[in-house]
């Protein structure tokens, strides 16, 4: 079973969200990194730009697939994890820590209510795993 920390929020598209005042940090979940397998490249091409919730804010390349990183909430992308440039495998090794991908400055705090808690996300993963 994938590791799903209880202190984080989640999206249906398998991003995790850590909230710190009006700044949210995001990346992809343990379940998502396992599904993708070896991640070879992460590009956050929206730094300095405003993104809307559910909009692609970056690209995650695995050996045989490409996925988007979707914005979990609307806001300005203020930072990308530069260490992933040389070590994209951090996402596989430590998805909730050193493998974080981007930070956003939240523009609409109400959107946080739309995120899943760990219980709801666990249920979502359980359903996905049965497919």
């Amino acid at each position: 079973m994938a590791n799903i920390p209880g202190d984080l929020k989640y999206t249906k598209t398998h991003e995790w969200v850590r909230i710190d005042g009006d700044v949210v940090t995001t990346g992809i979940t343990d379940f998502a990194q396992r599904e993708l397998s070896d991640i070879v490249y992460v590009e956050i091409n929206t730094v300095g730009r405003q993104v809307k919730r559910d909009e692609p804010m970056g690209t995650i390349e695995a050996v045989k697939a490409v996925a988007d990183l979707y914005a979990p909430v609307s806001g300005e992308v203020i930072e990308a994890n530069e260490s992933l440039k040389d070590a994209p495998d951090l996402v596989n090794k430590d998805p909730y820590g050193a493998g974080w991908m981007a930070k956003l400055r939240l523009s609409n705090p109400d959107e946080l209510k739309g995120l899943l808690d760990s219980t709801a996300y666990t249920e979502l993963v359980r359903k996905s795993e049965h497919h």
Binding site: Y41, T59, E61, A65, V66
Partner: protein
């Protein structure tokens, strides 16, 4: 001899197995009103001998003219070694080398091609080739947009109008506004380029030498583009790089070219060869196939298709390109040509093109009524202002065994008295003199 694969007996057996009696019954599901109710209008069958005779007659209708036409396709010499090597059946196949284990030869040949193109352009990565220069240029436009996240492109008025049409076709679908930077005489106007640049320009696209043969101020254009945060995209003539600086030396970001000059016959306009190279940092947005060298578990060198996640079969709608092919055989021809010529050979070809075109341009400029239109230095090709419409000269030239050039009136009405003349290393002094004599005798002093 019957050339259709199935006998009556084969057909009977197949229908029986399917469970119908006739072919009509087999097609019962197709509505009657959309079926063809008559026989195809094809001529009666003829023997092989008759086919050859008919094709021979058609071929004889071709006129063998001495070629002074260019505008993107050139009559260069092709050493015999090119055909000898690309005719080997191992290379002549159309197999896509996805399975590295059984495609080492094809993969290595593409890798060598990419290496040659990188050296020629002084760039860091080249792809396995594209259809032609026009499609490569259009793909470069798309690539520049993806790299910069900007929407507009500025296209020099010196870019071949046929390439421009392809770029615009692509740009329309991608909603990329394309603006033309006017020419001053025969090269891009730096002042109007500077005025058009802004923070939403993805790329400045220039052809060098441009389609009028003239050299462009690429260093200044690059400097202006980069100062505004735009990329410099250059379409070059690969032969010109025998004597002109490689695009890497003036900081081009994406370089494309028509590779037809490198050992590929004119053959009525195709198939040709699109060359494309860029900086390593942009490799993930480069369209097309890419071959890389690696090692296996035992340390043996092997070649593989690399970074396939860029391509449409994986990245789907996010891929830069939906072209899933390359021009492998034409690329191989270019590789053989470049290897055979080497840097000295290429310099010799370029030097001869330059010397012979200069010789002819001066000879024509001496004829009353004719003037040389280019004010900038030109390479291999130049424009002549003619005393009569250029198309009249071309029509008359054909009667004298000459293909005099390209009528620029095809592109713009106000250019109807401009003739674009190309001179390759194949043209002899006798041919150059004959051409000038023809113009003087038929059209001089009118």
């Amino acid at each position: 001899m019957c050339f259709t694969p199935h006998t009556d007996e084969d057909r009977r057996l197949m229908l029986e197995r399917i469970g119908v009696r006739t072919v009509d019954e087999l097609f019962a599901g197709i509505p009657k009103d959309i079926r063809l109710k008559r026989r195809l209008e094809l001529p009666a069958p003829v023997s092989e001998l008759e086919v050859l005779a008919e094709l021979g007659q058609l071929a004889e209708a071709n006129q063998d003219l001495i070629c002074f036409a260019g505008c993107g396709a050139y009559d260069h010499f092709i050493p015999a070694v090119v055909d000898a090597i690309i005719s080997r059946s191992e290379f002549y196949t159309a197999y896509t080398p996805y399975q590295a284990e059984v495609s080492q030869g094809t993969l290595q040949s593409i890798y060598e091609f990419q290496s040659l193109i990188c050296r020629l352009f002084d760039m860091e990565v080249a792809n396995a080739s594209m259809y032609d220069c026009a499609s490569a240029l259009a793909e470069a436009t798309h690539m520049a947009r993806d790299i910069t996240h900007r929407s507009r492109v500025l296209l020099s008025g010196g870019v071949n109008p046929r390439y421009v049409q392809v770029v615009q076709t692509y740009a329309q679908g991608l909603s990329i506004p394309v603006e033309t930077v006017a020419l001053v005489n025969d090269s891009s106007d730096l002042a109007s380029l500077e005025k058009s640049l802004s923070s939403d320009v993805a790329a400045v696209i220039v052809q060098h030498p441009n389609f009028l043969g003239s050299l462009e101020p690429t260093v200044e254009i690059g400097r202006l583009a980069h100062a505004a945060g735009a990329l410099l995209v250059v379409a070059v003539d690969p032969i010109s790089l025998g004597i002109l600086p490689a695009p890497g030396t003036y900081d081009a970001d994406i370089v494309v070219a028509e590779g037809q000059s490198l050992g590929i016959p004119l053959s009525f306009g195709g198939p040709y060869l699109g060359l494309m190279a860029t900086r390593r940092r942009y490799v993930r947005t480069m369209p097309g196939r890419l071959v890389a060298r690696t090692t296996d578990l035992d340390g043996n060198i092997g070649y593989v298709l690399a970074l396939q996640t860029r391509e449409q079969h994986i990245r789907r709608e996010r891929a830069t390109s939906n072209i899933c092919t390359n021009q492998a055989l034409c690329a191989l021809a270019a590789s053989v040509y470049l290897s055979w010529m080497g840097p000295d050979g290429l310099r010799e070809v370029a030097t001869q093109c330059h010397a012979k075109s200069s010789y002819l341009a001066s000879a024509i400029a001496k004829i009353p009524g004719f003037t040389l239109w280019n004010r900038n230095p030109y390479f291999k090709e130049f424009v002549v202002r003619t005393p009569v419409p250029a198309r009249a000269i071309i029509a008359e030239g054909m009667k004298h065994g000459l293909l005099c050039g390209v009528d620029l009136g095809c592109f713009r009405r106000e250019w109807e008295s401009l003739l674009l003349v190309a001179v390759t290393e194949k043209r002899t002094r006798t041919e150059l003199d004959a051409y000038a004599r023809f113009l003087k005798q038929e059209f001089g002093s009118r």
